[in-house]
Symmetry: C2
Subunit: 398 residues, 2 copies
């Protein structure tokens, strides 16, 4: 499915204009032979394919009737509403996930890690739906599936066995959620998911909304288990709001430990949740990834899924306006995400996979600030989106 392609007059990461050559699906330094297919980028900026490191493809309501949100304010209200909606609206994870992928592909989102609900009501049906979607988009958009115990794991006996079943059915990553405030037993929760990951040689990605010192304690437990099992580079703490509320000394100690154990942090930059110290995390050597979280579902009614817009939100939440900071925010949504979800050969350098998105902007910072649409998206030399228009030979989505 790969095509050799020259992209002329393109500015990688906003730098000087050059030509890029994709051969056999990868960027190469060699000169392209005469007659190779070429497109003129007209001086547009090239970014590597954008990385969506945290979303919930099985939960989006894109394309359905408007869901009237009358959900209460607590996380538990939302979990209950979410489970009720799954039952009553008959949300089809396969169809809905494909819809979100097709919505975000024109933005240049080519790599997605999605948490997928596993619980004692739906079992692993959503994971199976996602496995089907992943197959349908193979080679176009890469999908990583996290077996996610949204409704709790220990508090819902049977869930852990279902998570193991999900892994056997094709899930790539072991999920977890608030080991104290939702699952009521941080040590047993973490022991269980780390043991599961260890047994199946899978990474871990845990939702950690726990506030303040409770969150810090859970993070310490995660750090200890990552070290003990030698899982450095394979664990992601998603949200980790506690890092945004501790005093500087406590925060610094935890961040250093995350860096030492190579535990990645995923932050959405939500306007209503504590802001993570983006600069400090990166300067301390912690891998920072980002994601859209839920898009147009029962949890939140909005969301485009554009990871370049997400870079803007990250900057805005952190009060950053300088060009250099906006460039750093783009890194989070590209290279940071790629490291965080363990992509290999990612980037625009020779030898990397030939994936890129073209954005019309004078500078990288302008691309973040104005998030121009009508992008061109190329995967392994194949043009999937041209000036915002999806190619006609993409999978049919109902």
């Amino acid at each position: 499915m790969t095509t050799d392609l020259i992209i002329r007059n393109v500015r990688p990461l906003g730098g000087a204009p050059t030509d890029l050559f994709i051969r056999d699906g990868r960027f190469v330094e060699a000169a392209a032979p005469k007659g190779t297919d070429a497109i003129d980028a007209g001086g547009q900026i090239a970014l590597p394919g954008l990385v969506e490191a945290h979303t919930h493809l099985d939960k989006t309501l894109i394309g359905t009737d408007w869901y009237r949100n009358e959900v209460g304010p607590t996380r538990n209200d939302r979990i209950l509403a979410d489970r009720r909606a799954k039952r009553e609206l008959g949300i089809d994870a396969r169809r809905q996930s494909a819809r979100q992928i097709m919505q975000t592909l024109p933005f240049g989102v080519t790599h997605i890690r999605t948490h997928v609900d596993v619980d004692t009501e739906i079992g692993i049906a959503n994971v199976q739906g996602l496995v089907a979607t992943r197959a349908a988009f193979a080679g176009l958009v890469d999908v990583q599936i996290v077996a996610f115990p949204q409704s709790g794991m220990l508090v819902r006996p049977g869930t852990l066995a279902l998570m193991e079943e999900a892994l056997k059915a094709g899930a790539d990553i072991v999920g977890g959620i608030d080991p104290a405030s939702i699952d009521r037993d941080p040590v047993r929760h973490l022991d269980a998911i780390f043991a599961l990951a260890d047994r199946h040689s899978k990474p871990i990605d845990i939702h950690l909304h726990e506030p303040g010192e409770l969150g810090a304690f859970c993070l310490e437990l995660i750090i200890e288990r990552t070290r003990a099992l030698g899982l450095q580079g394979r664990v992601m703490a998603s949200h980790a709001y506690c890092l945004g509320t501790l005093d500087a000394k406590r925060q610094g100690t935890l961040i250093d430990a995350l860096a030492t154990e190579n535990i990645a942090v995923m932050t959405v930059g939500s306007p209503s949740a504590p802001a993570l110290p983006l600069k400090l995390l990166r300067q301390s050597g912690v891998i920072v990834a980002s994601g859209s979280d839920g898009i147009q579902g029962t949890w939140e009614p909005w969301g485009s899924g554009d990871m370049l817009e997400r870079a803007k939100f990250l900057a805005q939440r952190n009060g950053m306006t300088a060009d250099a900071d906006l460039e750093a925010a783009v890194e989070v949504c590209t290279f940071g995400g790629a490291s965080g979800i363990e992509l290999h050969d990612y980037g625009l350098a020779p030898g990397c996979h030939g994936d890129l998105v073209l954005v019309a902007a004078q500078t990288l910072a302008e691309a973040v600030a104005l998030t121009p649409h009508e992008r061109t998206v190329i995967r392994g030399g194949r043009i999937l989106v041209r000036n915002g228009q999806l190619s006609e030979d993409l999978p049919h989505v109902d």
Copy 2:
């Protein structure tokens, strides 16, 4: 310049489908005579023209080369960078303000209050530029001009006299800024601007970024002067971040006093500034308006100026996701803004000015969440924008 017009199959504020009739520039209940011009809204939602209650039309860099932002983190860094840019880039307030108006008109923004810099370097040149723009858009987009001492007033002798000159040149409102942290003397600053407003029978709109108890003290001084001079209904506190950081009791006392003196509050919902208690303010009877603040300038590189998107930002900053809360956020960006900036006969009821924007959405909450473009904007029965396309007979903007 008004036209009689029937808008068929339209859903005012998301309600049941009906027809609206605009005659002599206002909505009327009477049946329209045969042959009256009509458009079919196709079931779209009608909102009254969106109200931009706080922006800086003279500062936007829309349409200019990318401004590389290397500005330091403090408010003073930004004020200095802003003044330097005015000098070095030769920003033309008349042209730039017209550009922003034309950018936001397709969103349905028909009423704008803009703060306009007055200082000892540029004098009242920007106010004069805005007076020209206001005239060019008369009857299309209403512009209110605040004489704004961005660089300080008492700390820059001569500024107060320039503000008075600005009023004589056509400014509508007396501005002010951080009477303590920038102008270094809260009582004299406030005494001066209240006296100026009183002398010219003008409203007051003051930027109040002062944090915590310092802000609360300044707010008390504003409340006292509003009461003493009988300026109820004519004073707006813009930003008023302190309201987002006080303890509940202190916050409640101040909010009650704002309600009693009918002082409006303007909040942008910035993700990096303290969040104002939107629900509590409104429940307590305080008029809440909103605005975009600066758009694409030296202060911040982004901003669309879409006040429906702003409703989304307000909801997001307050952690609101329920439909009822999103509907309240729309009210802030329409009726709240209209009250806050003293518009009369505003709304979709008979007798009100015949201004509206049509939005394609199933519900008001969906309009907020997805902020559909391709809107239709009608002013006094005249169609200024049809499905996102500007009418050809609008003023030429260079």
